[in-house]
Assembly symmetry: C2
Homo-oligomer: 371 residues x 2
DNA sequence: TTGTAAGCGTTATCAA
DNA sequence: TTGATAACGCTTACAA
């Protein structure tokens, strides 16, 4: 085993420990050498543990010279604070949770990464879990995180099981819903209005003259964002006297092959073929585009395609995808700001609106025209 | 503030707490109602805390009836164990760390997700951080995680700062290097042989008659996988009497636009244009492909392109990308198995080899032929 | 500015 | 099968 190590202690074993042979014997099996504790540091620096703690937590109120001595002892012993002990005593774990629907969607991964960077700055760790859009699973994960003592948590969307909100509130744990914005929401949120965004995208296609518009949407069960995007698109059509019949909306999980599959199903449906298809996110939209192209259609000549998110691929694929640019990094960084502020007792705005604007590229064109 | 809550306790305040007014006053500011503790549960069930602990940890050795009474008390109080206290007493946090180079590369995100699922099964939480391929940053993150009391950690690659290994070993924390396999490695690992894989991919192109082979590789600084893939490609060329001159290897971070950019630089280089380009991963390869296509070349007619990883896009884009299929989910799940086994004192193989095989698709063709 | 000591909520040893 | 009770390593009044 590569982790077997020598038991060189570097410092003499404190006398008070030498008599406690029993205690030493029951030490954790794989951890031969007990790590230095605050007490060891205090002893070596010739001060009390309280003083060491003060130095370590930069509470001021310490003599510069004392501080130096403590710092030296810390370095000499290779002292590493014990987070669990610290959490127990301070009732604060310096850990924040994030439950995301999926990690393998690059847009979410970028968000988590942004959050992690934000938290790193303030010295917080990030505990993650992915719920796969299953509310029950999300609840279980939130529960586990609460048990783990997270100080705050970032959630996606706002349709969580009531138990999630109840638990968080009962425990006094700060939380924030991301990817959604609703000025009237009862819960803190940071994001944009998905319905409005869907509306805008549909309006743009309508303005291009499209009348046969269809969607390969995300699976709406347990996913308010997917639901609201559809709602917005439907509203835009309705405002122009058009309809978005069920056969024009197929739901699929979020992946390229689901997008391809979705287009096939749309094309197999009744009535005239759609001239424009909106993907519930960029992955679906690009899947739609690839399927169309590979079955001999041109985009946007024969079919206009648009998505949501603006992942890197959207701008790079040919034709470049018209989509809604979602500022994930901002959303998650601001969510981090909010949570840290709440934990540290500072005031924070609990409804933050960001803009998700339309980015017109080459995958959409006037209806009827071939490009 | 949405988190203000009622202070209904559900159970009468135990007598021993009523005198401790001071203590109650200094409770955490945002957490009005102190959560039920083991002691509360014990009191309510009319047993000792030790017994409750035994029931909760399913250690057997408890009367069925006692167990039921405890379970009832737990439910009635909505008791949630306090992880920090548990960790302090048991010297085990039930949390595992993972530091990944980047989360926004879907292949890594899939790995983290697989690891998380594996750990969820065994009741472990996952703490993540992304190092952006910076060794110093990785060290800092490992340190932070160690302070947070992780029981084990998953790393990527095997070229870590010596301090990383030293710290982990000193603390007796189990770790494993993933994405790499070397039977002779001094550290536990789970993955495949990156050099061999590069060699195989180059061999395949050579067999197709390509002689002008170039690479848009990952940035090799702090990235042993990138280095070894290049090494393998160079070795394969050398074995056929060919050379891989510096001008034929450009290094780029891992993204689509870096791939595009890399191809431009290769084409600007001296000597004959390459007829085949290997991307350091699929993102780079697809970037190369998109750039080639958008500048009027056909793939694979004018240029063969191949990558590493086999992300979902590789199979779906046109032409579908020839690549090395990397079994990330398996790698990370097995890494999880290993870490959990080590933590729980069970034996585990600490060098696990997986196969990363070539998947031939449509982006590669014989040299000289137009498809 | 520093020290003393009482917790924090568990686990685990030992005795009953 | 259970109960007392001593850790676990740190923070934080309060006192000096």
């Amino acid at each position: 085993m590569a982790t077997v190590l020598s038991v060189d202690r570097g410092v003499p074993c404190p006398a008070w420990k030498q008599v406690l042979s029993k205690r030493l014997q029951k030490r954790t099996p794989r951890n031969d050498r007990p790590s230095a504790t605050l007490k060891d540091v205090a002893q070596r620096a010739g001060v009390s543990t309280a003083t060491v703690s003060r130095v370590l937590n930069a509470q001021g109120k310490v003599n510069r010279e004392t501080g130096t001595r403590v710092a030296e002892a810390v370095a000499a012993l290779g002292y590493v604070p014990h987070a669990a002990a610290r959490a127990l005593a301070s009732r604060r774990s310096r850990t924040i949770g994030a439950v995301t629907a999926a990690l393998d969607n690059p847009i979410f991964a970028r968000g988590i990464q942004a959050l992690e960077h934000r938290l790193e700055l303030s010295g917080y760790g990030l505990l993650v879990a992915s719920s796969n859009y299953e509310p029950e699973r999300e609840l279980k994960q939130v529960r586990t995180m609460v048990e783990r003592g997270i100080d705050a948590i970032m959630l996606q969307g706002d349709s969580h099981l009531p138990e999630v909100y109840a638990l968080l509130q009962r425990k006094g744990i700060a939380y924030i819903n991301t990817w959604v914005y609703d000025a009237a929401a009862t819960h803190p949120c940071c994001g944009f209005n998905n319905e409005l965004t869907g509306h805008n995208l549909a309006d743009y296609l309508l303005d291009l003259g499209h009348r046969e518009i269809a969607m390969v949407a995300g699976v709406t069960a347990g996913n308010d964002r997917a639901r609201n995007r559809i709602k917005g698109v439907a509203a835009a059509l309705r405002a122009r006297g058009l309809d978005l019949p069920p056969a024009r909306v197929v739901e699929r999980p979020y992946s390229l092959s689901d997008g391809r599959d979705g287009l096939r199903e749309l094309f197999a449906g009744p009535g005239p073929r759609p001239t424009a298809v909106i993907g519930g996110n960029d992955l679906l939209a690009i899947g739609v585009m690839l399927e169309a192209q590979q079955s001999g259609l041109t985009v946007p000549g024969d079919l206009s395609v648009a998505g949501f998110d603006d992942i890197e691929l959207a701008a790079n694929i040919a034709p470049a995808l018209t989509t809604i640019h979602v500022p994930v990094e901002e959303i998650c960084t601001l969510a981090g700001d909010y949570l840290v502020a709440r934990i540290e007792g500072r005031p924070a705005r609990d409804h933050v609106a960001l803009e998700a604007r339309l980015v017109v590229r080459q995958s959409t064109a006037r209806a009827g025209g071939r490009a």
